[in-house]
Symmetry: none
Subunit: 408 residues, 2 copies
């Protein structure tokens, strides 16, 4: 029997409140240069410490598989309980979500950027001299006005930062992934995007669409300097993902500040609660909305951002800021609270990594691992052990008493 | 290559003695109400402590999968090394085993109970006023006498406690599971049991059998008040499970007191050693029979029973009683000794749970984890880590030097 089917069959509806707090990129590594401490270990976290003293289970989670460093897409899909190897979300889709473009299953999205072409169509600058955002917005506006449809597919073009933008095709019978319409270096012409799987008629249709889009769009940009061309990458369709509410019997809300995380939550059918701009405001909104949802995904960006900068002190302070806000959340006593990251972002690596992220689980039935604090080293000794992130919500459901017994 | 095939190919026959002691429902959680201790942590266990000091490996085991709370069936099948998702044993089969009814592969069993029907066949009391066991035995005796066969299938009826009994059909080409012949509430007629998989001809045959059984049995009960009807649930066949001895090259014996555990052991082909009524007597019988078997499954019920009662002190004392008896077992120095539970039964939950159970493994080659005691918190730090219970016997075999090297 399939494990997901079993979980589904055992699921009982309850009024329990489950809260998943994602401190993005929380996990870190201790190095001698950093005093043999991680930011989480170095941070002053009196409120987390008090929560641990009340009784928490800890452990470490593999975002995907040993040694795999995930992007935000697979990182969050795993956290949401969807096997990141089974549900792959293309880069174009993630980028579109990040710009707040709403997607439907089957939509094909590409990340794009303006470039400079010479008279023979050879790419001479892959970033069009890094044009300013205002110029990008103007050009995207122009393209949007001139090109609303290609064949029977609707086209949406949305500007990003600098020379970046996304293109979305909404039509029938489309599918990714396609190869990049990008030579990946200067001095070559733009190659045609082609179906990665040449047997897929849907992907071939999508490739034709991209080719026709080029035919329509390049003349619009003709004479525009330096941005007289564009490259398209990560061309993929939005996968059809089982809805969170059906999968878990939990009505879910997303409290995130950055569009990409709102988009990832929407991808699985969570409701976006817009407005809050700080973790304090996010937690206040959780308090206000607690009665209306069974599950809350609360996303905090800054641990990742400062990890990417390699800024140990700032990452430590970001954790401390979360700790200061935490009592707001605890006021409402959720039945099950999990605090973790979507992956590690060690300062020493200045980027995402494969190191399992620490996770803390608190409920009336989590038991106590008798640890003094929530840290990477402590989590290594926790009762949750080392497990794949995709099981976290299942453990949260168990702690919410949402599963019937399996067998007699 | 399939892992089971690999294990099988590497298996060497030896004269090693392997002992698996199951302290049912052993695992627990530490809560503040219980002084931040588990019963295992609170218990005085000088003999276990001495064993740990001699060198043991510890770890924690997932009975089935993260968050899944198993019944005794899946819990023990997992411990015996059979994937509980692959080998599912229906409720009727477990109930029949629990009453000491011997089953063969393909037998279809149902848990049943007497109920009260009105003149229109509507269920007015699903438990027939909770008739006494003696009345149930009398009615089952009557039914057994009148109905020995339905078509070509033999029928066995065995009384349980109060209004409960089991019905066993032994015939050719039968299969479960069937839907319940039980409206699950009063005020409705008894629905017909139907094949869960309507494409299974065997299940349809079983459904017809159940229907014919009702036609034969209801007239026998007519006029009997309050038990003039009966409901049937969990109708399933005994799965065909590979035999323990073939799987592990170990002749296995079961030392259990309660029928269900004897039944589960018989399901995989272990020999029942009847007689002992206390853990001391069970261990004495192990000593007496050690030469005749390679593997012993010794089952101790009371840790689970008191966990279900939420009785921390009694669960602690049950562990202490086991500890007092332990030296009897150690006198015979088994080559490999594992002590664990089939699942956790935390006092705070008053029932089975999903929390990984602690496991202790002792052999000349187990190594020492340098822990002072056998506890949940200690086991979190053990060298066995967190693993699925179905691998435990493989680890025991490895410790018994029963596996050849894989590859050069």
């Amino acid at each position: 029997m399939n494990l997901d089917t079993l979980y589904s069959e055992l699921t009982l509806k309850t009024n329990a409140k489950l809260v998943l707090v994602v401190l993005d990129g929380l996990g870190d590594i201790a190095t001698q240069a950093q005093g043999d401490m991680t930011p989480l270990e170095a941070a002053r976290t009196p409120n987390l410490d008090a929560l641990v003293a009340q009784g928490c289970a800890q452990g470490r989670m593999l975002p995907v598989a040993p040694g795999i460093t995930p992007g935000s897409g697979p990182g969050h899909l795993g956290l949401f309980g969807y096997d990141p190897l089974e549900y792959q979300v293309g880069r174009g889709v993630i980028e579109a979500l990040g710009l707040g473009v709403e997607l439907k299953p089957g939509d094909v999205a590409a990340r794009a950027n303006f470039c400079t072409l010479d008279s023979k169509g050879i790419v001479t600058d892959r970033r069009a001299g890094r044009i300013e955002t205002a110029v990008c917005e103007e050009l995207c506006g122009l393209l949007s006005k001139k090109i609303r449809k290609i064949g029977d597919a609707e086209v949406t073009i949305k500007a990003g930062k600098g020379h970046r933008f996304v293109v979305l095709f909404r039509g029938k019978g489309l599918e990714g992934p396609l190869t990049d319409a990008d030579p990946h270096r200067e001095g070559l012409v733009i190659p045609a995007a082609e179906a990665v799987n040449p047997k897929s008629a849907k992907a071939k249709k999508a490739a034709k669409l991209v080719s026709d889009f080029y035919k329509a769009a390049l003349p619009v940009l003709a004479g525009r300097k330096p941005a007289n061309g564009f490259l398209m990458r990560g061309i993929a369709h939005q996968p059809d993902i089982p809805l969170f509410e059906e999968r878990y019997q939990l009505k879910a809300a997303c409290l995130a500040v950055y569009p990409m995380y709102k988009g990832l939550a929407q991808l699985v059918g969570m409701t976006r609660l817009d407005g809050p701009q700080t973790i304090g405001e996010q937690l206040e909104q959780y308090v206000a909305e607690q009665d209306r949802y069974g599950f809350f995904f609360i996303h905090y960006k800054y641990t990742d951002m400062y990890g990417e900068d390699g800024n140990f002190e700032a990452k430590k302070r970001a954790i401390e800021e979360f700790d200061v806000a935490l009592p707001v959340l605890l006021r409402k006593k959720p039945d099950v609270l999990a605090i973790t990251g979507d992956h590690s972002t060690p300062c020493a690596l200045k980027g995402h990594s494969w190191h399992p992220q620490p996770v803390l689980l608190h409920s009336a039935f989590s038991g106590s691992d008798k640890l003094l604090r929530f840290t990477e080293t402590g989590a290594n000794q926790g009762s949750l052990g080392l497990f794949e992130a995709k099981y976290l919500i299942r453990l949260m459901q168990a702690n919410a008493r949402m599963f019937d017994k399996f067998g007699a």
